[in-house]
């Protein structure tokens, strides 16, 4: 067994103005030739730092504080700057995450390849050219001869990543560091690229370090894996052992948080404890604020719903609702021993309103016109959605799946009124839902439909305190007016989404992604919606945080009988959340099915392909 790369006790530090930050702490790992070694961890684990340290391109002012890196027995840390640069490309190569940005836009593919080849071997231009063409063929690029002199922007994302791989391979390196090589790609392309990496690894006998946050990818192609957390190695070993029978608590928790494709779990269990960044603030509370109070308040407000309690059935207007809340319920909830203390109420009304549709969409079409059509060309519309028909029942969770560009987000935007449909009708709560530009500002649907967005870093206004952010819908919809009342509600809703009440005094940037997403959920919830649209609510989050947010959404859905349109590219997540699934492709709805039936046997060929290409842990866990 010849060890290609041997890292011993590597520590990397970054001096910052708040003291030194240890990015890597005593990390040891080794890679053999012809082996793919996975490096997995959540954000901040130091995965990419390992790659940068090996290739000697640590971002300044980071430095290697301790440890050794040996490549085929040669100590890399003793090389001088020029010798190290010689090494890059010729013995160690790198594959970057985003093929859109990792190629020089002004040089043709051939120029970049030939330059790299000739940089490291003393051959003439024509020989280098032949090598480059052969290599591109090897990476599965089509029409190599014709496309050889094309510029990067003329290739699709998957094809570009093949060019990137060719560039990394063109000098026959011993070691390749692949940093999230498929994260920016759709699952179908991801599958092909991973297969290519595996194939090249075997054929050329190179060692590969595959850095990724995606445990599915790790389980799919790596031989061995190292799990990192906060710059330390948690567990290391053969992939099958580490992921199948994790020894460490963290790895176990991580594995439990990965949504499974093979069966629906009621909740994610045994997940990683939330970061305790804000403990100590727990004591700070507002009088009378509690999760129970929030829950009761929210339930009392679903005025348009045919709840069994009679007073609210007819008077569905906001005014009657407000008096109701401020006069009776606030007082009563303070006295009552919180009948909601058990937290989970089940779906109020039960089967009774499962039969009535909350949203119906008929023949929906959306066309985007490019803003400035050329001088001579007619305005060409891009059909983002074509003839979409579906209906959603009250209290149902409808999953929407599809690859990028399938129109998932457009669907959400049409419903909330950010985008106007070109044709088609939407019916919400048995009334026609006008398109966005014609929907009055006071339209009840503007309160009843709320949305949780994908990116928690941009969905909260950084210049507002959390209190202002959550209070805004309360005031805007006139759900409460008294300042003390509003504060009580804000604090209570924060409790409900499992945040300390103290959080309301802070600004969004003081929270992590997962915490921000909880605040975003709180903002949506406080409007007392009946219908929630979640557009990729967890795709920007780490898997353990994702599990927490999904659990939260499940709880809220069950407690308040919310109808949720759940959009995700991740089939496994949808499987965990949805009652029914619709599949979109190029703006067309190609399948509607119950979740269980869908995952057992999808009806459409495309759905089957999608399902097949999603990396799965099922096999691994079974063994």
């Amino acid at each position: 067994m010849n060890t290609l790369l041997d890292i011993k006790n590597l520590s990397v530090k970054f001096p910052t103005r708040f003291g030194e930050f240890t990015a890597l702490d005593d990390v040891s790992l080794d890679v053999n030739a012809g082996e793919i070694h996975g490096l997995v961890g959540e954000s901040g684990a130091g995965k990419s730092t390992v790659g940068a340290a090996i290739i000697g391109l640590l971002q300044s002012p980071g430095y290697i504080a301790d440890g050794n890196i040996h490549l085929s027995g040669e100590n890399l840390l003793q090389l001088d700057k020029d010798a190290y640069h010689q090494l890059r490309g010729s013995r160690i190569s790198m594959i970057f995450q985003d093929p859109q940005t990792s190629l020089n836009p002004l040089l043709t593919v051939s120029e970049q390849l030939v330059e790299t080849i000739r940089q490291h071997s003393d051959i003439d231009h024509d020989t280098a050219r032949e090598q480059a063409i052969a290599l591109l063929k090897e990476t599965g690029l089509q029409d190599v001869e014709q496309r050889f002199h094309d510029y990067p922007h003329q290739f699709s994302g998957g094809m570009r990543q093949r060019v990137v791989i060719a560039l990394a391979l063109c000098t026959d390196p011993e070691l390749i560091i692949a940093d999230e090589p498929t994260t920016a790609l759709d699952v179908s392309v991801q599958k092909q690229i991973l297969a290519l990496i595996r194939e090249l690894c075997n054929k050329r006998n190179v060692g590969i370090i595959l850095i990724t946050h995606d445990i599915g990818v790790i389980s799919e192609i790596t031989d061995r894996v190292t799990v990192l957390r906060s710059g330390r190695v948690v567990e290391s070993g053969a992939t099958r052992d580490v992921l199948g029978k994790p020894q460490e608590e963290y790895t176990q928790a991580l594995m439990a948080a990965v949504p499974r494709l093979d069966k629906k779990l009621h909740r994610f269990k045994n997940i990683v404890a939330a970061d305790k960044q804000i403990t100590g603030d727990v004591q700070w509370t507002i009088e009378g604020a509690s999760a129970e109070f929030a829950a009761e308040w929210l339930l009392s407000g679903n005025a348009d719903k045919p709840l069994p309690s009679p007073p609210l059935i007819k008077g569905g207007s906001l005014t009657s609702l407000r008096t109701d809340v401020s006069d009776e319920h606030l007082v009563s909830s303070l006295d009552s021993d919180a009948s909601l203390s058990k937290r989970r109420l089940g779906r109020p009304g039960g089967v009774a309103f499962e039969s009535s549709p909350i949203l119906e969409v008929a023949n929906l079409n959306v066309t985007f016109h490019s803003e400035r059509p050329g001088w001579f060309s007619k305005a060409q519309g891009f059909k983002a959605l074509q003839n979409i028909n579906f209906s959603m029942q009250r209290g149902e969770v409808l999953g929407v799946v599809g690859e990028s560009g399938s129109g998932k987000s457009t669907l959400a935007k049409v419903i909330v009124g950010l985008v106007d449909p070109a044709a088609g009708e939407m019916t919400f709560n048995d009334a026609l839902l006008p398109p966005g530009s014609k929907r009055p500002r006071q339209h009840p649907a503007r309160r009843q439909i709320q949305m949780v967005f994908q990116d928690p870093y941009s969905s909260l206004n950084n210049r507002q305190t959390v209190e202002d952010i959550i209070a805004e819908p309360i005031r805007f919809y006139g759900l409460a007016t008294q300042r003390s009342e509003v504060r009580q509600l804000v604090a209570s809703v924060l409790e409900l989404v499992e945040m300390p009440q103290r959080a309301m005094l802070k600004y969004p940037h003081q929270f992590s992604g997962g915490q921000r997403q909880r605040i975003a959920v709180a903002r949506a919830l406080v409007a007392r919606p009946e219908f929630l649209i979640c557009d990729e609510p967890t795709s920007a989050l780490d898997v353990s945080i994702q599990a927490q947010i999904l659990n939260l959404l499940k709880d809220l859905q069950e407690t308040f009988g919310l109808s949720i349109l759940f959009i995700s590219h991740d089939l496994a997540v949808v499987r965990q959340m949805a009652d029914r699934v619709i599949v979109l492709r190029h703006g067309e709805l190609i399948e509607t099915a119950d979740t269980e039936a869908f995952f057992a046997e999808p009806g459409h060929a495309y759905s089957r392909q999608l399902l097949r290409e999603t990396p799965d842990l099922g096999l691994l866990q079974a063994s």
Binding site: L418, P440, Q450, F476
Partner: protein, 311 residues
Amino acid sequence: MTTLTERFANLRRITRENELVYLFLHNRIAQIAAFVALLCIGGAMLSPWIAPTDPYDIAALDIMDSMLPPMWSAEGDPRFLIGTDDQGRDLFSAILYGTRLSLFVGLLSITFASVLGVSVGLMAGYFGGRFDAIMMRIADVQLSLPAILTALLIDGVARGILPRESHDDLMIVVLTVAIGLSLWVNFARTARASTFVEKNKEYVQASQIMGMHPLRIMLFHILPNIMGPIMVILTVDLAVAILLEATLSFLGVGVPPNQPSLGTLIRIGTEYMFSGEWWIVLFPSGMLITMVIAVNILGDFLRDALNPRLR
């Protein structure tokens, strides 16, 4: 309930987390620049009280005092710290008053430019469409004309339209409008670009979904978020405005000669430079340069501090 100490602790934490304050407290150059800028502004504002003489008061001038060198040179007069100009004005007082005028015109025109530019930029960025297209086309055309040319043109046109007798009285207003109109484009473009970015962020979409009024979204949600880049432009363009005023006055199409600004003083000084009266041109230039450099350093500091890419 929050105790006072708790609030104080919270405040201190926020201060530490506030990048800008932190960076400022650790940037000696920016501190010096801020100090100098404050000194200039303070001196200018207080000029009626701290200046030894009133340079606008023609009666107090004595032609016998003209062209006196600074007091430390052989022929200097202890009454005039850094000498006098061609009409016997105390140069030190004239510089203080001139700085006040320059700053006044600069600040006024920059306020004018920023209010106009930011409103246009916000609306263009938020609504897009035809308004955006028209405004940005105008901006493009104007941007290809350098600010000084625009200001000269507006200045020239105003001189043509207004009756000659009122030139002197209205000149400061004309100058302010001319400089303001020549600088609004920067604000409009910056505000538009930032608005465009913010508009597509999800927090704005959340407000739109709620049915919030666009004006409210622009003022309460977008504006606070684009203040960073606007502050940068505000500082940098304040320097530009001061320079523009000085240049126009230097060219003789700026403020009227009976109320000299720094530019006017320098122009007067140039005429006597060849005959060896160097002080008339040197001190006003020095003042102008010091002030502009201080403002520019602050602008650079803000730009670097607010630019996440450079961290």
